[in-house]
């Protein structure tokens, strides 16, 4: 038992009253590459309810980035419908999409995408400027405080650590109180300690403020921190399941590379592992890979099994 089967909805009675944050129906995306058509998404349907914390996983080329771009209103599907907060946005103009992104979506990127030589507070004010909102500095300060950077308002990106920069980016995504936060490999450029800090913030925001969050990641360890994992391969959803017992950032230690790789070797060329133990574990790893033929990463499987 690796995943819990996802039920039709957490609160079926609420679903009628409050529309899901994201409701996409038979979305396809086709790119014209010269004479050939490249079908990146081949009919994806998906619902994400308010307050969910979801990971979208898949290898590169699976279409997860394209799906992320469509979910983020940066791109439009070739066919199918996309209801965001009950509003069909799959056929909107560029200007209307810009407004949707501004009001309803908060982006967090792997490489932070902060403006250089701009203070943390000004970074966070940016979406408010385009929204024409009032009390921008007050709201920006509040957002920065909520990610623990209340004392770094005037700092430039070059004066902040990677983890702090990503927290500024999270504050920027939060400040407009969007319907959903889309985070593309948000810990991908961070060391494990900073990554854990950032992860803690996402978990806290989701737990305390019910902020709907979607991660796009290829890292199973990160995905295990979320409540639901959607797996995409070749433009289709191949799995969509609840995580039985999500990891708690800052509490659960990520296994080291040695631990992760333990048991797959036949002989050590260098290091403390003896040839005997590596060989013994190697046969175990072989057994496991034949058993786990579903393609679901080992860590998630182990994590679920351990629970």
């Amino acid at each position: 038992m690796k995943f819990l089967k996802r039920s039709n909805g957490k609160h079926p009675e609420d679903a009628a009253a409050i529309p899901p944050v994201i409701d996409i129906r038979e979305i396809t995306k086709t790119y014209q590459m010269g004479a050939e058509e490249l079908r990146v998404l081949k009919g994806i349907s998906l619902r994400i309810e308010r307050g969910e914390f979801v990971s979208i996983m898949g290898p590169s080329g699976s279409g997860k980035s394209t799906l992320m771009n469509i979910l983020g209103a940066l791109d439009q599907p070739t066919s199918g419908q996309y209801f965001l907060d009950g509003e069909d946005i799959s056929r909107l103009s560029q200007t209307a999409l810009a407004r949707i992104r501004n009001h309803k979506i908060g982006f967090v990127f792997q490489n932070f995408n902060l403006l250089k030589r701009t203070s943390a507070q000004r970074q966070v004010e940016l979406p408010l400027i385009y929204a024409g909102a009032s009390n921008r500095s007050g709201r920006a300060k509040a957002a920065l405080e909520s990610v623990g950077l209340g004392d770094r308002l005037k700092h430039l990106p070059s004066e902040l650590s990677g983890g702090q920069q990503q927290r500024v980016a999270i504050a920027r995504a939060l400040v407009t109180e969007p319907s959903i936060i889309l985070a593309d490999e948000p810990t991908g450029n961070l060391d494990s300690r900073s990554g854990a800090e950032v992860m803690q913030i996402f978990q806290r925001l989701n737990r305390e403020q019910q902020i709907t969050t979607v991660f796009v990641t290829h890292d199973p360890w990160i995905a295990r921190h979320t409540n639901r994992v959607i797996m995409i391969r070749d433009g289709m959803i191949v799995a969509d399941q609840q995580v039985a017992k999500p990891l708690v950032a800052g509490v659960d230690e990520r296994p080291s590379e040695a631990e992760e790789l333990a048991g797959i070797f036949q002989a050590a060329y260098y290091g403390e592992h003896s040839a005997e133990s590596a060989g013994a574990n190697g046969s175990h790893a072989h057994d496991d890979s034949t058993g786990g033929g579903s393609g679901i990463p080992e860590q998630i499987a182990e994590g679920s099994a351990a629970s």
Partner: protein
């Protein structure tokens, strides 16, 4: 997003690379400064030429013998006193109300230790009244002075200064040597503003016959004495053209020339000369300003170049701005303001530099540069136009960027 925010963003991104912004503006500064200073100086020179001719007898015609061309055996027939008398008789040229003549020679004037090379103008007594010349000291000469070849002289102020060290020196009564002949100064000519091609301030004026007989060799066999030019005054400027044709008809027949194109003399109206000169100057000014405008165009291309670099450098930033909700219009406005700021600031500095150059140039060519508001409005307008024209393409390119590709741009 309001304009003030766009403005702040644009200023911020210009300040991010001050050296680059300064170099970009330099093209505009040079172009605008060149156009402004050339137009201002050109107009200044036009004005000073116009003022030199102003009051130079709008009602006066000047008749001159054409210079005989070197290498041509058929020397032109000179103008003579006989011609002068014919023009004065009231029958040959009825439209002419008065005539005067002068005979010019170059001579050396010496007083004590100072000597100066000077134009000596022998004139008929009425030459003063016809030209509306007045004297600050002494008196002009009479017909009898001329007939007796009196060695008396009226000095222009420049000559007074050259000989006596100060233009205010009262030289009346002084004697001086002109080509070794002793002359007595009898009057000082008031400083003339209308200087024209023959500056009367820089001349010694003597009786006509004195100049013809004693200083020059002006006798022409059978025709009496030669004169350099004849002035003919009309009572009404409306008669100028009639008088001109009458004089031409008379001189053509007197010189035995059938084809008016072969005329060996020229009759000119002072105002026409002034007009021609200012027109030529105007064309030269326009031409030079046109060349300067080309440098302005090159400056504009520089602005576009830098804007394109700026847009491509900031691709990721543009992508991010779009991701957090900037519309294409917001991005367009931001970059347009940036290019407008660069060109307007360049234009303003160019106006300042142009004014400085015009002021320095005024000193060098001793003509007051005229910086009319139109020139400044033109310069500002042109830099505005450059900002818009050369900013649209880069700004539009930024505005139309695909946010996904922009965010992925390395």
């Amino acid at each position: 997003m309001n304009l003030w925010e766009s403005f702040r963003l644009a200023v911020g991104s210009i300040l991010l690379y001050p050296t680059r912004a300064a170099l970009t503006m330099l093209g505009i500064i040079i172009g605008v400064a060149a156009v402004i200073s050339l137009l201002a100086l050109g107009r200044g020179v036009e004005n000073s030429v116009a003022s030199q001719f102003e009051g130079l007898g709008a009602d006066i015609l000047t008749v001159r013998a054409n210079m005989p061309m070197r290498g041509f055996s058929s020397a032109s027939t000179p103008l003579t006193l006989k011609n002068l008398q014919a023009l004065a008789d009231g029958v040959t040229t009825p439209s002419v109300s008065g005539v005067a003549a002068e005979y010019q020679v170059r001579a050396t004037a010496v007083d004590g230790y100072n000597s100066t090379s000077v134009t000596v103008r022998g004139v008929t007594p009425n030459y003063f009244t016809l030209n509306e010349w007045s004297l600050t000291a002494g008196s002009a000469f009479t017909q009898s002075d001329s007939d007796s070849q009196a060695q008396i002289a009226v000095l222009g102020v420049t000559v007074v200064e050259d000989l006596y060290g100060s233009a205010d020196y009262d030289a009346v009564g002084e004697s001086l040597l002109i080509n070794d002949l002793a002359f007595t100064v009898v009057g000082i000519l008031a400083e003339q503003t209308a200087t024209g091609p023959n500056d009367p301030n820089d001349a010694i004026i003597v009786p006509l016959l004195t100049a013809q007989a004693r200083l020059g060799n002006a006798r022409v066999a059978g025709e009496g004495y030669q004169v350099s030019s004849i002035l003919a005054k009309v009572s009404d400027t409306a008669l100028l053209d009639a008088a001109q044709s009458e004089i031409e008809a008379y001189l053509l027949s007197a010189h035995g020339i059938a084809d008016p194109d072969q005329a060996d003399f020229t009759v000119t109206q002072a105002s026409a000369t002034a007009e021609t000169r200012t027109e030529v100057l105007g064309i030269v000014t326009l031409f030079l300003s046109g060349i300067a405008a080309i440098s302005l165009l090159v400056g504009g291309i520089g602005v576009m170049n830098i804007m394109l670099v700026s847009v491509s450098e900031r691709t990721r930033e543009i992508g991010l701005r779009k991701a957090v909700g900037a519309r294409a219009g917001d991005i367009l406005v931001q970059f347009m303001i940036e290019s407008l700021l660069l060109s307007m600031l360049g234009g303003a500095l160019g106006v300042a530099a142009g004014m400085a150059i015009a002021a320095i140039g005024s000193q060098l060519i001793s003509a007051t540069a005229v910086l009319s508001p139109e020139i400044i409005v033109l310069a500002v307008g042109v830099s505005l136009f450059i900002g818009v024209f050369f900013g649209v393409y880069p700004a539009n390119r930024a505005a139309r960027m695909n946010p996904i590709q922009a965010l992925r741009f390395e």
